[in-house]
Symmetry: C2
Subunit: 155 residues, 2 copies
């Protein structure tokens, strides 16, 4: 991911999505194929001192959205990205900061998405996001279905 795109992404969060700052979410790393976001435990702790499930879900939702947003931008499509539905499984409590990683879908899936977007103005894609603690243990797995569209479907 280019530094410009990363800066633009951070700008959208900071300017337009204020809760991302309260959640403490930052970009941990960004490569061509993968985006990793970090979220600190302290503001997201629950009554058991582990990460609140709702914060993990918000982080995973944002991670999937962010990798699609930047990918659209980098392929020159100023498309909207909206989540349609998601499922999250909580495997273990997280007792540390957490890292959520999303990988770009396989090339074939991305091509189908872009073809649908260009032909019909709209496409769907499913993204997996893994949430790990700082020891690398997967604490939650998330699957989100996102819709990418050219026009604002909801006016």
């Amino acid at each position: 991911m280019s530094e410009d795109t990363l800066d633009a992404l951070r700008g959208v969060w900071r300017r337009d999505m204020p809760i991302t700052e309260a959640l403490g979410i930052t970009v941990e790393s960004a490569s061509e194929a993968e985006l990793v976001l970090r979220m600190p435990l302290a503001p997201n702790r629950n009554h058991k001192g582990t990460a609140f499930a709702g914060s993990l879900s918000a982080l995973a939702t944002l991670t999937g959205w962010s990798i699609l947003w930047r990918t659209m931008r980098e392929v020159g499509e100023m498309a909207h990205v909206v989540i349609q539905d998601s499922t999250i499984r909580y495997l273990l409590p997280a007792r540390s900061d957490v890292l959520a990683s999303a990988r770009l879908p396989a090339a074939g899936d991305m091509e189908r998405l872009l073809t649908a977007l260009r032909r019909r103005g709209k496409g769907r894609i499913t993204l997996d996001v893994n949430v790990r603690d700082t020891a690398g243990i997967v604490v939650a797995t998330f699957e989100g279905r996102y819709v990418v569209h050219r026009e604002d479907l909801f006016g």
Copy 2:
């Protein structure tokens, strides 16, 4: 829900789950069978001026957890409540504050849960949460599977 239980619930949020304050979540109403939480749009807005999906998911997760937590307390079970997995469907963008409502499961399901908890120290239950805008339109539906247990399974 008794005022004491409501105060205890608010105390857990405020003291032990600080992100609930950043999200701006408050109790809108609480009856025997239903709990309704409110979340303001402003801190949870996204780049389109509608509610961020991740905030809606966090709100729904907390609503289901809270109604189970208070029910356990009111039936005299000081059990832990943990979410196992959830699915959320985003139907429409929310352009206002939102209200999330969870109803207690049918009496038969609650009885099965309590029997399992008392016999085996653990039970599972599925809860539905609806998220509405202030005009009463359902903007998201959530289904969460929660585990209630007597001992701390994760030490």
